[in-house]
Structures are given as C-alpha cells and as structure tokens.
C-alpha cells in the first residue's frame, strides 16, 4: 500500500542521522545496511527523517545497554514487548530476547 509519508526516527548517533538524511554512507557495511533500509522503504513508498537527540534523552539508551529493568521502571507506559522477525542476514549477529 502506498503511504507516501515521511516518518520521524530519533537516534543519539549523529553519524547515522546524517547518513540517513543524506542517503549514502562512505562505509561499505553501513551503506549496505542503508541500501536494505531504502529498498524496504521503496516497496512501501515511505521515507524516513532522522533526528538527533542526546543520549540522556533517548529512552532506548537503557535498552541498548541491556538494563531492561531500569527501562521499565523509568518508562512504565512502554510496557509491551514485541519480538519481530529477524532478517536472515542478521541471524548470525543478533539474538532476540
């Protein structure tokens, strides 16, 4: 279904914010990851706009460091865990919790 909308994503990494808004990366692996993101966006006619936020204001910072208890304590409104399917090329690199 064609949405044709641009969605906002927040990150505390200025590099990926710049790369996502620019459209290409100098690093080959990062550019490959960007290609997969853009191919997925093209199938659904969507665009992403990245916004930089400091680490202290990024509510996903605790999750990325594995401190799930502190995250659930600090943000009780975010209470539902989901386990989306992991892409095949990431199955040897990531594990779903």
């Amino acid at each position: 279904m064609a949405l044709h909308h641009e969605f906002l994503v927040r990150s505390n990494n200025a590099g990926v914010v710049a790369v996502l808004n620019k459209g290409h990366a100098r690093n080959v692996n990062t550019n490959t990851a960007l290609q997969r993101i853009y191919a997925l966006l093209a199938e659904r006619d969507m665009y992403l706009h990245a916004q930089y936020v400091p680490s202290c204001k990024n509510i996903a910072d605790a999750l990325s460091r594995g401190d799930i208890k502190a995250f659930l304590t600090g943000f009780p409104s975010v209470s539902t865990q989901v386990v989306p399917p992991l892409p095949s090329y990431l199955s040897d690199k990531l594990l779903s919790l």
Binding site: F7, A60, S64, F71, S96
Partner: protein, 506 residues
C-alpha cells in the same frame, strides 16, 4: 476743335470726366493666329505663409496633456505642451544684443529630481547615506526608505523561499545534463534580456513568462524603474522551463544603475529576483544575486548623466549591463509526465549496462551523473550509486574499457527496480515527518534497543560477534541496523498504517 477755358486752380479735379470724342470711324482690323492662348485673368488665392522658425508636430496635444496630468508633471512640462499646440521655436527670434557667460553648474536652472533609495532593512539606510556622502552626492536629493511593509513582494519573498544553500556558485556553472561547464565568454541558452511591457497573452505556455519574473534592486531609479510604486521593477524575457534545473544557473542580463565599482556592487548585491506568480507549481529561488559585470563586450556601457550629481561625478554614474545569476528552486512536485520520462530515460540507460559490454570511464561518469540527477526525484536510489562512482574512479586510463563488476550491476538493477516501482508523481518538498514515537539505539557492549509508541524490542549480540572501532562492523553500522530493526518492528506493528489513518482522519 473745342477747347476748355483755362483756370487758376492748380489742383486736379477727379470728377466725372467725359470720354474723348472719336475723331473718325474705327477701321475693322483682325489678325489670324492659330496658336494664340488666352492667359488666365484670375489672380491665384493668397497662401498663408508660416513662420519658418516654428515647427508644428503631428502630436495630439490633448493626449499629451492627459499623459502629463497622469504622470503629475504637467507644471514642469507645460511649455512643451504649449509648443506642441503652437509650434516649437527654432533658431533665434531676435539678434542678441549682449553675450552672457555662465559657469557649467549654473546652466541647468531646473531643480534636480528627487531620488529615492529603498532598502529592506531600516538599519542600512544610514550607512547608505554615509556611503553616498563622500561621493559628494547631494544628500538632500535622496530619501532612504524602509520597504519592509506588510503585503509587499518582499514579504512574499520569504514565504516562498526554499533554497537555503550557497547563493552564488564558487566555480563556473556546471551543466550535469550536457556534462560540461558553461564557458564564461559565451552566453548560456537561458540568457534573457530586459524588456518592458511583455505581452503575456501572446507567449506560449510551458514557459516561464517574462512577466512572471521581476527584478528589484535597492535603488528605485533603475533603468526601467517604476517610479510610481518606488520599486524598480522590470520584467525579463521568457525562460524555458524545460531546460531549467536545480543544478543549472541561468544568467539574466539587466540594466542597472551603477554608482562606480564599489558602490554599484554593494547596491546590486541587494537586488533580488522573485516570481510574480506561481508557474507550474515551481517557484524561483529568491536569492541574493551577486552581480557579474559584463566584460564580454557584447553590450557596451551606455553612459548617462545623473542630474543629482556633480559634473565631476558623471563618470561614476552610468548605466551598465549586469549579469545576474539565479536558479529555479525545486518544485513542490514532479509531475507524472516528468516522472515517467525520467523513469524511461533511466531505464534505457541502465539497460545499456550489460555484463558482457565494456565501458569507458567517461561513460561510467556520465551514467553516474545522470543517475544523480534522477536521484533528485527518486531519493531512495542514492545509496545504490556509490559502487558506480567507485568503479568510475578505479580507471587508470581514460581510453580503457572495462566490464562492469557484479556489485555495480546488482546496484544498477536495484536502482532500476526502485525507479520502476516508485510512483511517477513524486513530491520533492519534504513533508513534515510523522511522529510515531520511534526511538532506537545501539551499543557495542550489549545490543540494540527499539521503542515504538508503547512497544519495545531488544536484541543482543551473538556470542563471539563484536562491534566497535577497528572491527569489521563499527557503531555506525550498528546504529543503521537499529534503524532497520525499528522499521521492521513498525511494519510488524502496523504503526505506519495507523499513523496514515490518523493523518487522514485528522
């Protein structure tokens, strides 16, 4: 014979006289003449002799008087109007009895015109006056106005401005379509000339009409200025929209008043172009234009005296042709026709890149340039163009012909696929992003965490897989994977459809 008696009166009487008596019978005499012509006995009508020192013009005095009244200069030009009715005096009417010698400034007894200098910033008016004063310009002839009032074109200028980047290209204008740089001594194809009163009805559509484009400089007394509004406006010749691109900088020549090198540059740097109306949903970028003086010699400077200046400053006040650079800003939307044409052209170009064919460096660069141009419309192909430029830069000789690597072919195939499935009607202006409370982060120590609205997901790095500096995968890659996983999570939760529904319902 009968004789009258002699008198003493010496005066002559003019009373009735008697005819002298014939002394004998008149003999009948006739002469035959074959070519005898009877002369006209009537006197021709006397013609009114005009004064050769007066000239009668065929102009209609009533219309001229109406025009002078409309312009408000009837009092100053009244003698012209009288002369048009009664004739202009030429030559001298009487021999001068004496000779009067006047100094040059005393010859012109007419008061100099009042000049207005309009600037968008109130604070600039003072420095402008100080800049004029060292030139011995008569300051009382100048009024420095502040033009930033509501509803004027200046206000509209800021509302439709899209471009925020560099205003003037550093180098020569580069044409990505023809892969060349415009030579500075040649006028580009988009050169326009200043013209007045362009007839908008007779111009063809699909073109940016001259009346749609106006130029305003900071000086009201521009060569084609409109003195009634205080703004120096003049329209430009039509510009072909088809050849206009966000990358191409057309050059427009206009005639502006120049106050010498430094002062002219400072004034012209404040000049602006703006569109008069919307044309094909495409606006002109409202940029500061830095003038480039015409050194090509195609249009010689036309010097003109400036009444408000001292005679010694005539050389510093002249009208020169000036080249302004501007470019059209990105349109709000690419029409379906343009999108389909770009799709077809790009597809044909990529179809030429076959695994069995060999290409030169110039062909690879040309293909990359065209795809970069297409990426202005189809933004999602940008990450797929990196391998092509790496391939183009890997040539050691410009005459060499190389096969396309597999990764380049794969990227070109993916580029063609993205362009093919993309809609032909593409908005170029980025819409406001929809906030679905999407947060993502990655760390080298643990893994990736994603939060979308009230849902969260977390992934841990596999044992033995490390991310960090000096490794194959760095933190930038991990953050990009976090975005990818967040995208998968949002699609899994159908967040995008929900946001679309909310946007549509609101």
């Amino acid at each position: 014979m009968h004789l009258l008696p002699q008198t003493d009166v010496t005066s002559v009487s003019t009373g009735p006289t008697t005819q002298p008596a014939c002394s004998g019978p008149i003999a009948a005499m006739s002469t035959l003449a074959a070519s005898a012509v009877t002369p006209p006995m009537e006197q021709p009508a006397a013609r009114i002799e005009t004064d050769p020192r007066r000239i009668i013009t065929p102009l209609i005095p009533s219309r001229i008087e109406e025009l002078l009244v409309r312009l408000g200069i009837l009092d100053e030009w009244k003698h012209i109007l009288i002369s048009i009715r009664n004739g202009f005096d030429v030559g001298i009417l009487s021999i001068p009895s004496s000779t009067n010698l006047f100094r040059q400034p005393q010859i012109s007894t007419r008061s100099p015109p009042h000049n207005r200098c309009i600037h968008r910033l109130r604070a600039i008016c003072g420095p402008l006056f100080q800049r004029f004063y060292p030139l011995r310009t008569r300051g009382f002839n100048w009024t420095f106005l502040y033009s930033a009032t509501g509803g004027n074109p200046q206000t509209k200028l800021h509302q439709i401005s899209y471009h925020t980047g560099s205003l003037v290209p550093k180098g020569q204008p580069y044409d990505p379509i023809n892969q060349r740089r415009d030579k500075p001594r040649l006028f580009p194809h988009q050169l326009g000339l200043v013209q007045r009163n362009s007839n908008t009805d007779s111009l063809a559509p699909r073109r940016l009409l001259g009346s749609h484009l106006q130029h305003r400089s900071s000086i009201s007394d521009c060569a084609t200025g409109n003195l009634t509004t205080g703004l120096s406006l003049h329209t430009l010749e039509r510009i072909n929209l088809c050849r206009s691109s966000p990358h191409v900088w057309p050059v427009i020549k206009c005639w502006c008043l120049r106050f010498g090198r430094r002062h002219g540059s400072s004034h012209l740097s404040e000049s602006r172009f703006w569109p008069n109306k919307e044309m094909g949903q495409r606006f002109l970028c409202c940029l500061f234009t830095r003038p480039i003086m015409d050194r090509t010699g195609l249009c010689l400077p036309d010097s003109a005296h400036w009444c408000a200046m001292e005679p010694t400053e005539n050389t510093s006040a002249c009208i020169l042709p000036t080249l302004h650079r501007f470019r059209l800003g990105p349109s709000r939307e690419v029409s379906s026709t343009t999108g389909r044409q770009t799709q077809q052209i790009t597809h044909n170009l990529i179809a030429l890149a076959k695994p069995e064919s060999r290409h030169t460096q110039k062909e690879a660069q040309s293909l990359h340039g065209r795809l970069v141009h297409a990426s202005c419309i189809f933004r999602l192909i940008k990450p797929f163009l990196r391998s092509l430029i790496f391939f183009a830069e890997s040539f050691h000789s410009s005459h060499a012909r190389c096969f396309l690597p597999r990764n380049v072919l794969a990227d070109l195939h993916q580029t063609d696929n993205i362009i093919r499935i993309s809609p032909s009607r593409v908005p170029l202006r980025k819409p406001d992003p929809v906030n679905i409370n999407w947060w993502g982060d990655a760390s080298t120590s643990f893994g990736i965490g994603v939060v979308i609205d009230s849902y969260w997901a977390v992934w841990h790095w596999c044992p033995g897989f490390t991310v960090g500096p000096g490794r194959e995968f760095d933190i930038g890659w991990a953050e990009a994977i976090a975005v990818k996983l967040g995208l998968i999570t949002a699609l899994h939760l159908r967040r995008f459809l929900l946001a679309e529904y909310r946007a549509a319902s609101s």
